[in-house]
């Protein structure tokens, strides 16, 4: 397993918001983490990135990346991991890019920070942009000149350019139009198939998770109540909570009005 989370507990004082017994992602696999808001999904992302302490939370447990234990690392050591080995994209892509800098300069700076030379960074950026099906010229634009879908793809391009092994995607398509969402999801599938990337896809939208993910874990109040291959969990949920969530999802063609 490329990313193995065991016994992860994230707490604010004595209030525990995440209590994961076990969650693992293999190479070339998309694992979904689904649940309602407040179930602890986003805190899990922060914990894996080593950023939980920035919001005042304490992290206990084990997060292993290819065998390396991440929870004990210093901030300096984590910085080498963040972005380079574990990349992340979030719900609001505009937040990842400072509005006063061209998108390309943010990408370049990130690549340079992780050790590439100017030439290497430029080449990697161009290559990655083509992989996400965006014209490399878009790197010269400011974030305000790009749509949400395009910005999200640039964020993914950055992860690609850094050759990250793991991509944490926290509600990356919730703010996007459904057709643009379809494109981004397709892109994530390509990442899995062509780059062998491990993706942790966090969402409250069960339909998206069901379509995209190979395996899915359902979170409730910080705990994983059910976990398994997507087809199994969706068609034969073991937990009543999962069954309730699935029943609540709107389906096309249901009712059709009166």
């Amino acid at each position: 397993m490329r990313l193995a989370i065991t016994g992860l507990q994230v707490s604010f004082g004595d209030r525990r918001v995440v209590d994961l017994a076990e969650l693992a992602i293999a190479e070339a696999e998309i694992v979904g983490l689904a649940g309602e808001s407040g179930s602890g999904k986003s805190m899990t992302t922060l914990a894996v990135l080593g950023l939980a302490n920035t919001v005042g939370a304490r992290v206990d447990g084990s997060i292993r990346l290819d065998g390396t234990e991440l929870t004990g690392l210093s901030q300096r050591e984590m910085r080498a991991v963040r972005g380079r080995r574990i990349a992340a994209i979030f719900q609001s892509p505009a937040l990842a890019f400072s509005p006063v800098f061209r998108v390309g300069s943010v990408v370049h700076r990130a690549l340079r920070l992780h050790g590439m030379t100017k030439a290497e960074a430029a080449a990697a950026a161009q290559r990655a942009m083509r992989q996400v099906l965006l014209p490399p010229g878009l790197l010269d634009r400011y974030p305000s000149q790009l749509s949400g879908g395009q910005l999200q793809r640039v964020a993914i391009a950055l992860a690609l350019a850094l050759r990250a092994e793991v991509l944490l995607a926290d509600e990356p398509t919730s703010a996007l139009d459904v057709t643009v969402q379809a494109e981004v999801l397709e892109l994530l599938r390509d990442l899995r198939d062509q780059q062998g990337m491990s993706v942790l896809f966090i969402s409250h939208d069960l339909a998206v998770v069901a379509e995209l993910c190979d395996r899915v874990a359902i979170m409730q109040d910080g705990r994983i109540v059910e976990q398994g291959p997507t087809g199994q969990v969706v068609t034969a949920p073991a937990s009543p909570y999962t069954a309730g969530l699935l029943a609540a999802v709107t389906r096309l063609g249901a009712g059709g009005g009166r």
């Binding site: 879908g149 969530l245 709107t250 096309l252 063609g253």
Partner: protein, 372 residues
């Protein structure tokens, strides 16, 4: 015009009739010639579209929150734009709106009960001293206990805030409700509860509503009729269940296929739309959808398709609607990876027409010069 269900053999007077509506924000034509009809309650009309489709603007125009540049909105036969004074106040009570952002729909400094009571007092629906009690009744109607009246908005969850907003809109006893993305900011369970609430209110209050959303699943549950919008125009409208099961417009097909489905059986072959929606300040000539359309032909670039009847209860704005219904999209071979060659959709993002696989057997004229 959205076709209305026939009742008793004669065409009924619509509750709301929108004719050739045009709304402009500077150079942007947010709404460009939209005509819709909404029957009296209980009735739901879904307005479906993505960003830039103009659906939110239409909703706001109906409640007179944006100035109208052209066309007319008639409520019970009367021109809404011409209303003044007491007639306008009456309209404001008859047609209400619930916004999509539950975080900012309520004044954060005012307690929930007072927020719901405010329109009651402003319109003198009840005597001032009875307003608080009526506000609690309204809160109960949307499923919130009386304890909520004393709370501030930030103490409620998103779903609860949305319900308060609905209660506030209902306080003036509207006959028409505009629901602007009522569930997009909510997660699955809260969403289901709001939808159930809308269904119940519809039955209890004989409500007619305009449901604005990008979520096709919602309209299929709550709306008899649906209109699909693209760049400020109606591209297709008709009975919801038929529209979703057999779309006649390529965009509707693409939208439908892009919706993620839990049931594997419900997933249709994805129609991939290259590029992004075009710039609203300079829409493409002819059919506004043609640069991204997988089956566009020459005619589409020069002639604006009129909204026409292709089935008894279906209106479509597409030159090739009949072919789409007959399966032209599938014949055009829309496998998942055809247009994913490097640069293909990226170049389309610049607004030029997308090169796609030339349909092998649609017999409608040369495609050789599509690649320009």
């Amino acid at each position: 015009m959205t076709p209305l269900p026939e009742r008793g053999g004669r065409a009924p007077t619509p509750l709301l009739e929108i004719t050739d509506l045009a709304v402009r924000f500077g150079p942007v034509r947010a709404v460009d010639g939209v005509s819709l009809r909404l029957a009296g309650g209980p009735f739901g009309l879904g307005l479906v579209g993505e960003s830039g489709s103009g659906k939110t603007t239409i909703g706001r125009a109906v409640v007179r929150l944006v100035p109208v540049a052209g066309g007319q909105i008639r409520f019970e036969g009367k021109d809404v734009g011409a209303l003044r004074g007491p007639a306008l106040a009456g309209y404001r009570r008859a047609a209400q709106i619930v916004f999509q952002d539950p975080d900012n729909s309520l004044d954060p400094r005012i307690r929930v009960g007072a927020s719901v009571a405010e329109p009651l007092i402003a319109h003198r629906v009840v005597a001032r001293r009875l307003a608080a009690a009526r506000a609690r009744e309204l809160l109960a109607e949307v499923g919130l206990g009386p304890e909520f009246a004393g709370r501030y908005p930030h103490q409620l969850s998103g779903g609860q805030r949305q319900r308060v907003a609905i209660a506030r809109a209902l306080s003036v006893q509207p006959r028409l409700l505009v629901l602007d993305e009522p569930t997009s900011a909510l997660d699955v369970n809260a969403q289901a509860r709001i939808l159930a609430l809308i269904a119940r209110l519809r039955a209890d209050r004989n409500l007619a509503y305009l449901l604005i959303t990008h979520n096709l699943g919602i309209v299929s549950e709550l709306c008899e009729q649906t209109a699909v919008l693209y760049l400020g125009r109606v591209v297709e409208s008709g009975a919801t269940s038929e529209l979703l099961s057999t779309p006649a417009h390529p965009y509707t097909r693409a939208l439908r296929s892009a919706v993620p489905a839990i049931d594997i059986a419900a997933r249709s072959a994805r129609v991939v739309l290259p590029g992004e929606p075009p710039d609203a300040t300079s829409p493409p000539p002819g059919c506004v959808f043609h640069p991204r359309c997988p089956i566009a032909v020459d005619r589409c670039a020069t002639e604006v398709p009129a909204l026409r009847r292709v089935r008894p209860a279906r209106l479509v704005a597409c030159h090739r609607a009949e072919e789409v219904l007959a399966g032209a999209m599938e014949a055009a071979g829309q496998p998942l990876s055809s247009s994913r060659e490097a640069g293909a959709s990226g170049l389309a993002a610049e607004g030029s027409r997308s090169p796609g696989p030339a349909p092998a057997d649609s017999g409608d004229g040369p495609h050789a010069d599509r690649l320009r």
